[in-house]
């Protein structure tokens, strides 16, 4: 967080010696706050001032990358507490736990299921980010073997979970070049883990069993050792305590520019809960309120799909609804006799409709009107999806050259537009479709049989 001119001035020697080329220290400070000059222009500035200024020029929550290659993910760099203030930038990474005590077969299956998992929503492929491999056996060779096995089966990023530096070293040797997250450094092993992080150039998680105070202590040990890429675990595991800890950490980072906690937070919702369902609810809380990495103990499509949807919702930029370019879209290979649907250009709306039209198995045309990215009813209420707009889009899109019939299906929620639209589009048959897109398949099979 940038300092103001006055804050910088307080850090300067205040001698007004003019060696920097400015008449006063204050004038120099002002210029510096506008980033018009380098601090080094003042020969007399103290080391403490240098450090303070440097810290202030860094992002309040450091950006940390886990993994390597295409599938690496980055978290941190957040600048607000509430998404309406600007937006949240970097979606939390969702990792699935594998224990080195799991049978080789079940681990292999989990790795392949999770790696292959993808669900399309609003035109985006939503996926999980990687694996957290846990040294549950306590044995170094078993851990290394498990990491080696997982590493050969997936390109997704890894986190290595062990507090035994020996086991970590053995595991790191099997994940060379993968930039795994080392989890992690405790009060007892901090120096050794820091050494490993530096040697392998990997991010390091710091684990506290003693709240934020304990966390800061360990962060300071590893930063002094030279580690910069840090992820923090405040140790809170339940609903209330983890909410408090994550809020406090985000506030300290953003509002106090508190460097020792200016890092993404890793959470373990499975450890504070008693069922996969409850784990998902707590994971949801962590996604909404400030987690950087969420480690899940359970994987099943019906729990991760809602979580991925929540993550997509919370990290959508509030200033820009996801929208489509207006125009003609096709489903399958429509002919001049295929049905024509119309809707708005809100991505969620378009993809809901497109998915159902696709599911109906009837090749079709979809005409997207420019509604400034609003859903059907929102756009209708705001006057951005009315008969005039639809008629104009029909005329200007060129759809009339592509179809022989003159039938257009409008969303059931705007059935009221039918009369006006008949006036706007003489010769057209305005058909009111079902309200909800789910019912399109049944509807179209009924009304489009003899065409």
């Amino acid at each position: 967080m940038a300092l103001t001119g006055l804050e910088i001035y307080k850090l300067l020697p205040k001698t007004n010696c003019k060696k920097c080329g400015f008449p006063t220290c204050l004038a120099f400070a002002m210029k510096l706050s506008q980033k018009g000059i380098e601090l080094s222009a003042c020969p007399d500035v103290s080391d403490a001032a240098k450090a303070a200024l440097e810290a202030a020029s860094q992002p309040p929550v450091r950006l940390i990358t886990v993994g390597a290659g295409d599938k690496a993910f980055s978290v941190g760099n957040e600048v607000v507490l509430f998404r309406h203030e600007k937006t949240f930038y970097n979606e939390p990474g969702l990792l699935v736990t594998i224990k080195d005590t799991d049978s080789a077969d079940s681990a292999a299956k989990l790795v392949s299921d999770v790696s292959a998992y993808a669900v399309e929503r609003v035109g985006k492929d939503l996926t999980l980010n990687g694996f957290a491999i846990k040294n549950a056996s306590g044995d170094k060779a078993t851990f290394a073997a498990c990491v080696a096995a997982v590493a050969t089966k997936t390109v997704l990023p890894l986190a290595l979970l062990s507090t035994d530096p020996g086991a970590m070293e053995a595991a790191l040797a099997k994940a060379d070049g993968r930039n795994p997250l080392i989890y992690g450094a405790t009060k007892d092993n901090a120096a050794k883990m820091a050494e490993l992080a530096l040697k392998h150039k990997c991010p390091l998680a710091v684990i506290s069993t003693d709240g934020l105070d304990g966390l800061v202590e360990i962060v300071e040990i590893v930063t002094k050792a030279g580690v910069q890429d840090i992820v923090i675990d405040p140790g809170a595991r339940g609903f209330a305590d983890s909410l408090a800890a994550l809020v406090q950490i985000r506030r300290l980072a953003l509002k106090k520019n508190f460097r020792p906690l200016g890092y993404p937070v890793i959470t373990f919702p499975g450890e504070g809960t008693n069922s996969p369902q409850e784990e998902a609810v707590l994971a949801g809380q962590h996604i909404a309120k400030y987690a950087g990495i969420v480690v899940l103990d359970h994987f099943s499509p019906e729990t991760v799909y809602p979580l991925l949807t929540l993550r997509q919702n919370i990290y959508t930029d509030p200033q820009k609804p996801l929208q489509m370019a207006p125009g003609i879209y096709t489903v399958g290979d429509p002919t001049d006799n295929s049905p024509l649907y119309t809707t708005t250009n809100f991505s969620l709306t378009y993809f809901s409709v497109m998915g159902e039209v696709e599911a109906s198995g009837v090749p079709s045309w979809i005409l997207i009107c420019d509604s400034e990215g609003l859903s059907v009813l929102t756009a209708w209420a705001a006057g951005k999806f009315d008969s005039e707009k639809i008629a104009k889009t029909v005329k200007s899109s060129g759809i009339e050259d592509k179809i022989k019939h003159r039938k257009i299906i409008i969303p059931g929620y705007v059935a009221v537009l039918m009369g006006e639209l008949e006036d706007e589009l003489p010769g057209w048959n305005i058909m009111v479709g079902p309200k909800d897109a789910v019912d399109i398949s049944g509807y179209i099979k009924k009304v489009w049989t003899n065409n």
């Binding site: 509430f82 934020l212 909410l243 609810v281 909404a288 499509p301 019906e302």
Partner: protein, 314 residues
């Protein structure tokens, strides 16, 4: 050196609103002087509560696993309400769906009969919503209001285009009015002011900020609720009413909570997915300030109640 915990010094406070009374059980919501569940910076005297939504007629078009979870009671509002309370409902929320002109177009008399049946069946506070067609809302909600005078019902919804009749009736009978604006902070505030202008006390108002389900507008509702709550804690007394979210209604009408045929394998099993769809909508909106969540599935009720307990630190 211990870390200094940053706390906000809020000047505002969420109003306390009490439902029930007149010899019946009461439930009080609101009263917070902190953001949701942040016990370290203020007091949260009342936990958020769970209302269970029932209909006054057999539901039509509801998701199959949802109807199955309730069994036969869906044919009888009184039995349904009883079972809801057994499962942990703090409040029973009854939608007078049969009054919709496209449903059975029932009127004042039927609404009063339903209300009386529910009063006999359960002792928790009740909330009634109309079919959301202005003239029918006015007809059936006023009827219920008169039939339950002095018993602290909540009635909704009051919208900018239709609030006078309902608010006046709540005022006359000592009920709470639920005001709803379309996900817009200024309109919600304006509606509160208009309602108060009719003489109803601000602590007899609940806000329904309009709920968007997970994947269907949740993020908009979430942010508007956070803004309303921040405004209220910042001292704006016309945004400081407790908030009610119709979570079950929104969540269970989405495809994810309804369809098992022809959906991607990556969606997983319908029932578990549907329940989680409702749970995540509920808990996410609670973390933005919901004081009353209106739910539909018995298992969601259980999970959300247990989550609330944990968030309240017990």
């Amino acid at each position: 050196m211990p870390v200094e915990i940053p706390t906000e010094k809020w000047t505002g406070k969420i109003r306390e609103v009490t439902l029930g009374g007149g010899g019946r059980k009461t439930v009080t919501v609101g009263g917070e002087t902190a953001l949701p569940f942040l016990h370290f910076e203020g007091s949260i005297p009342n936990r958020p509560v769970v209302a269970v939504q029932i209909l006054d007629c057999r539901p039509d078009g509801w998701s199959e696993p949802l109807v199955r979870a309730w069994g036969d009671v869906v044919n009888d509002p009184a039995a349904w309400a009883k079972k809801a309370v057994e499962l942990g409902a703090d409040i029973v929320f009854c939608t007078l769906a049969s009054a919709h002109p496209e449903n059975q177009n029932t009127g004042a008399a039927e609404a009063q009969t339903t209300a009386k049946k529910l009063l006999d069946a359960v002792d928790v506070p009740l909330i009634f919503y109309g079919p959301e067609v202005s003239d029918k809302d006015n007809e059936v909600l006023v009827a219920v209001s008169d039939a339950t005078s002095g018993l602290g019902m909540a009635l909704g919804v009051c919208e900018e285009k239709n609030y006078r009749t309902i608010v006046a009736s709540c005022l006359a009978n000592g009920h709470v009015a639920v005001g709803r604006a379309p996900i817009e902070i200024n309109m919600q505030k304006q509606l509160n002011i208009l309602m108060c202008d009719l003489g109803i006390k601000p602590d007899r108002i609940l806000m329904d900020p309009t709920t968007g389900a997970l994947g269907y507008g949740l993020e908009y509702t979430y942010s508007v609720m956070e803004r309303l709550r921040l405004a209220a804690l910042g001292g704006d007394s016309m945004t400081s009413m407790p908030m009610l979210c119709t979570v079950g209604h929104e969540a269970w009408r989405q495809k994810e909570a309804k369809s098992s045929d022809g959906v991607p394998e990556a969606w997983g099993s319908l029932e578990e997915r549907g329940i989680l769809w409702e749970e995540l909508t509920a808990t996410t909106l609670m973390s933005a300030g919901a004081d009353i969540v209106v739910l539909r599935h018995p298992r969601t009720v259980e999970m959300v109640k247990s989550t609330i307990k944990k968030l309240m630190g017990s």
